[in-house]
Symmetry: C2
Subunit: 224 residues, 2 copies
């Protein structure tokens, strides 16, 4: 996933990243206003920057169609996302940061420039497929694992899944997870769903069963 040059400023990179994220979520037209909301800045600032990105051939912009990344822009955006998610894995697994702390630091680390960095980090971490939030990590060639993930409450009775992330990063939830000895990669079998309150009986790592609430089962991201 080489981008050729590494001449983007921090600000440009953040715009590309935001445009990428807005673009994948939906087929919606990406407008200056949408970007300004995502970046918590002023639409006027966005318009200035869009001009610059058009000049650099990183985006296309027509009022009717909205903003769209060019191939070049997409490559750069994907590399930033790749670095962000790899660093999150590093921070969680190697430096023992918690789920809710990694994002902010990865926001900084994603802008470190070096041609080999992402690939070496990827190898060092054992080529992880998902980051601690359950989001797929783009591969070196720009491909991305399919997002199989769902929430625990939607898993079928009797099936076993693997934890890929959390939807809730409150410390109370994270502490509860710690207490239950649930982390990234933990295997969970959904033994039974209780219709009354939608709570679920689960077996963690094939161990004894525990009952968890619907709120809990809605907050845990898993895939099979």
């Amino acid at each position: 996933m080489s981008t050729g040059s590494h001449l983007q400023t921090l600000s440009e990179e953040n715009y590309l990243k935001v445009i990428y994220h807005l673009g994948k979520d939906a087929k919606l037209k990406i407008s200056p206003t949408a970007i300004s909301e995502a970046l918590s800045n002023n639409p006027a600032s966005v318009v200035d920057m869009l001009k610059k990105l058009v000049d650099k051939k990183l985006i296309q912009y027509e009022k009717a169609k909205g903003v769209k990344l060019t191939e070049k822009g997409k490559k750069i955006a994907l590399l930033i996302v790749r670095k962000h998610r790899l660093w999150e894995v590093f921070l969680l697994e190697k430096l023992e940061y918690s789920w809710d702390e990694v994002h902010e630091i990865a926001e900084q680390l994603e802008h470190i420039h070096n041609p080999q960095l992402a690939d070496r980090l990827d190898k060092f971490l054992g080529f992880p497929q998902f980051d601690p939030h359950g989001d797929p990590i783009p591969k070196a060639n720009g491909e991305m694992a399919e997002i199989y993930r769902t929430i625990l409450s939607e898993v079928a009775e009797g099936s076993t899944c693997q934890v890929v992330g959390v939807k809730d990063t409150s410390s109370s939830f994270l502490q509860y997870l710690k207490k239950l000895d649930i982390g990234i990669g933990t295997k969970i079998t959904l033994v039974e769903k209780i219709p009354f309150d939608n709570s679920a009986i689960i077996a963690i790592k094939g161990g004894p069963s525990t009952t968890v609430s619907k709120i809990f089962a809605d907050s845990l991201l898993v895939h099979d």
Copy 2:
């Protein structure tokens, strides 16, 4: 080694770092010109920034005495140096970068802000005392290991030392080291010095003896 706030800009941090390095090398007066040479910028720019750093109470500046870091400024500078050297160890040991590649990337990584980052990285790396260039890594409290290091050619006959870094980062030297299976931490015994050409007979990791040139022995940093 907390600095309280983390409000320094990248540029300010680079100034503090340069002032720190200029200050430790010698008792020389640190002048705007000296700083501008270290930063490859214009003395006029330096004067602007010095005013700002004085306002922020990070340095003291009197024409007669030159520039001096305040306690606050020193703390920040030491933390940057600590992060720089820890990241260098990480890049070399974990990501398998070579001695000559780590500096440039560490120049970027040293500016990542997070209260726990340096300490967690330090722990993860096993509390290394020296970076790949043999420079001591400041501890969390700001203390620094004494620089015991010297060059291999100055080690006494019969004594054993440990490699802490290199003075020469040319790829020919680094490849030679690789061939000899010498890396950070490798134990070397200086068996004999040959007066004729100052070459040295050494035993690597207690293994069989090898002869190396004076140039080689001058380029390898060790401590006992």
